[in-house]
């Protein structure tokens, strides 16, 4: 860990965080009414953006940090599977999937002696 909690940290966050994010929000305002919701370019942009976030999500599941680093992979993947099953059976209400996945994970961690 070579991260430093000084002014450079703030500059780093401002450039790689704030600027990198708000550029798209500002462009969104500019595009406003002109952007065509059915254009093929926008479809590709949607796909890339979603796949990127999904990549981050799967990294958190497969290669977690902290407590979960020492938990078995099958428990984490199993929790996602249980949550997904509950989510789709529960008419795709997010809370149903979230509660089921976390409950399965919590129960598994308890039984494994965490």
């Amino acid at each position: 860990m070579n991260w430093q909690p000084d002014a450079w940290g703030y500059v780093f966050i401002a450039i790689a965080g704030f600027l990198a994010t708000d550029i798209w929000r500002w462009l969104g305002v500019v595009a406003g009414r002109r952007l065509r919701e059915d254009s093929e370019v926008l479809n590709w942009v949607r796909a890339v953006a979603t796949a990127l976030v999904a990549g981050v999500v799967s990294k958190l599941i497969v290669f977690p940090t902290g407590v979960l680093e020492s938990s078995p992979l099958w428990l984490r993947v199993g929790s996602i599977a249980v949550g997904a099953l509950a989510f789709f059976l529960g008419r795709q209400v997010p809370a149903i999937g979230i509660v089921s996945a976390i409950a399965f994970l919590g129960a598994g961690l308890y039984l494994l002696g965490f």
């Binding site: 969104g28 305002v29 949607r46 890339v48 796949a51 999904a54 497969v62 929790s79």
Partner: protein
């Protein structure tokens, strides 16, 4: 305009700002607050100090962007690599904002105000705003979204700032579940708010490709799962539409 004639009957700007603020008492806002407890734990475990975690929450706001930013910091990425990874994850904000603006802008709304509103937009705030502004008179929609968004941002900054010192002392099971809440929350909310099939295809492709990319190309894993995975998902969607006989 019909609404300008009876504007007095629609309540004041202050009323609609408060109405927007009340959005904090809702299920999506509650899930978001708990997810930010998870983010707090992630930031703390990644060595990001509390003041920077709070700063990041206010200035970046979008949770996926912050996760990638903290992930980049954790893995020692340089400024350029971090910028590219974060900015790629944030492209999705552009169509989200572009879709919301026509819903909320009134004739006299200034671009400057819309730029401020746009900063408050992230997945949860966007989903809530798109649903709720339909019940708000058009002249007050921007005010309503300002109340909603600013309250969400400030509440989560307070959550990060106050809980940072406690997340390290959480029992292991609680810490583990909080960490896991973020990925689970994103999967559920992106799937349920995704109105285009290509989003669902990209979510599945990205999920499968992410760990493989980390194993085989750890330096470029996020770019790889984003650009390669996204293009693959888009291609699959084009094929799907062809098979359905629709236009491509």
């Amino acid at each position: 305009m019909a609404y300008s004639a009876d504007r007095d009957g629609e309540g004041t700007a202050g009323f609609w700002f408060l109405k927007g603020m009340q959005g904090i008492f809702s299920l999506p806002a509650s899930i978001l607050l708990i997810s930010f407890v998870g983010f707090t734990a992630f930031a703390q475990q990644s060595g990001v100090p509390v003041d920077q975690a709070v700063f990041m929450t206010g200035i970046v706001w979008a949770l996926p962007a912050k996760l990638i930013l903290v992930g980049s910091i954790q893995s020692g990425a340089n400024l350029f690599a971090a910028f590219v990874a974060v900015t790629l994850s944030s492209i999705r904000l552009m169509p989200m904002v572009a879709a919301l603006i026509p819903e909320i802008r009134a004739e006299k709304t200034r671009t400057f105000v819309l730029l401020i509103v746009s900063h408050l937009i992230a997945v949860t705030a966007w989903v809530m705003a798109m649903e709720r502004v339909q019940h708000v008179p058009r002249p007050h929609r921007v005010t309503y979204v300002l109340g909603l968004g600013m309250t969400l941002v400030i509440a989560n900054m307070i959550v990060v700032g106050t809980l940072y010192q406690y997340v390290a002392e959480f029992p292991p099971i609680v810490a583990g579940c909080l960490f896991f809440l973020t990925p689970v929350y994103f999967l559920a909310s992106i799937w349920s708010s995704g109105r285009h099939p290509v989003i669902h295809i990209a979510l599945v492709v990205g999920l499968l490709l992410g760990p493989l990319a980390t194993l085989y190309a750890p330096d470029f894993d996020l770019l790889l799962s984003g650009i390669v995975g996204g293009t693959l998902a888009w291609g699959l969607d084009v094929l799907r539409r062809r098979r359905l006989g629709g236009r491509v």
